[in-house]
């Protein structure tokens, strides 16, 4: 039995220790906003916040997340996440949408640490979030827009 906090809710799950956190989120807790893309830490679709840092849930066995504080796309609720969400809608960022929960989580993490990121900061933070629809230009613009909102 593993105990963790997910989106401010304490949960216990009875699964083998090597079960990826992503499986637990989607199959046990029915939080299907977090997506599976590659399973090998190469795409970023499965990004969540774990203990305040971005984390790829596909390569996080649940035994490594025991006792952790996890936030998924469903639970993010900070000024930064709200600014990102508004900018994403205003810029019509998603195309198919598959990668977008990961993009939003990474963008929120970036703005939480660097409120006014440069293009280089954005490249460095977002390089592990692949978008097969190539929405990269809109993602960059939306992050800058969200930063302006936060500043204003």
């Amino acid at each position: 039995m593993y105990n963790l906090t997910v989106n401010n809710r304490e949960v216990s799950v009875d699964v083998p220790g090597d079960t990826p956190l992503l499986w637990v989120l989607r199959d046990e807790l029915r939080l299907t906003g977090t997506k599976f893309g590659c399973g090998v830490a190469q795409c970023g679709a499965c990004t969540v916040m774990m203990d305040g840092m971005t984390r790829r849930s596909c390569v996080t066995p649940i035994e490594m997340a025991d006792g952790a504080f996890v936030e998924t796309i469903e639970g993010l609720d900070t000024p930064e996440s709200q600014a990102v969400q508004a900018a994403w809608v205003a810029n019509d960022v998603p195309q198919c949408g598959w990668c977008q929960s990961g993009q939003v989580v990474s963008a929120t993490a970036l703005l939480t640490e660097i409120p006014q990121p440069t293009d280089d900061d954005i490249d460095n933070a977002m390089a592990g979030n692949i978008c097969r629809c190539a929405t990269y230009q809109r993602i960059r613009k939306a992050i800058h827009d969200a930063a302006s909102t936060l500043e204003g």
Partner: protein, 204 residues
């Protein structure tokens, strides 16, 4: 006839024992007593460092000692994928720290062969400890220099090589990766012998 067979077996046994005595290696790394034959202590020390360099210059170790801001991956030392940067303190960039993907231990992939390496901490060596592109002599001088070895005395350097967990990861790199030569214990013994022989650096 039977006697002949027995003596042949005995001879082979003696020969193989002798040959392993002449060249004792553990996982491709020579043991310290292999260096007993030197009469010149400096030459012995230099030879010991050359042996240590088999570990130091193995891709398992070099990949995270780059001279630029990008770690490498694999035996061919290709650029890290996804693209990542050193960042402040060698832990990656805000929003994309090393531990975004690398956990506290190696994790087997559930959707394919191989594993993602992990250890706590997981980070790049500081830029002043860069090894990629350097000669063995340059690395030796760098490793002895407290300005470029994290402020370590030789005794602390031995301790680091013999017992540090992230150094030790080089011998437990997880499924799909070749380990560094030898063992961490042997690397520690070579380091100790090199220091006791005067911590001399190879020429050139």
């Amino acid at each position: 006839m039977k006697m002949w067979k027995v003596s042949t077996v005995a001879l082979i046994a003696i020969l193989s024992a002798a040959s392993s005595g002449w060249s004792e290696e553990v996982n491709g790394l020579r043991t310290v007593d292999e260096f007993d034959g030197f009469t010149d202590e400096t030459a012995r020390s230099q030879a010991l460092f050359e042996e240590m360099a088999k570990v130091i210059q193995h891709p398992r170790c070099l990949n995270c000692h780059p001279a630029d801001n990008t770690p490498r991956q694999g035996m061919e030392m290709r650029i890290h994928e996804p693209p990542v940067v050193r960042g402040d303190s060698g832990f990656g960039a805000p929003g994309m720290r090393c531990n975004t993907c690398h956990g506290s231990e190696n994790v087997d992939y559930v959707s394919g062969d191989g594993s993602i390496p992990g250890h706590s901490p997981w980070m790049l060596a500081p830029i002043e400890q860069a090894w990629i592109g350097k000669t063995v002599a340059e690395i030796c001088a760098q490793i002895k220099d407290p300005e470029r070895n994290g402020g370590r005395t030789l005794a602390e350097l031995h301790e680091h090589n013999a017992h540090d967990g992230l150094v030790g990861w080089g011998w437990t790199p997880g499924e799909g990766r070749e380990s560094a030569p030898g063992t961490q214990e042997l690397f520690g013994e070579l380091t100790n012998a090199w220091i006791e022989a005067g911590a001399a650096c190879p020429e050139g």
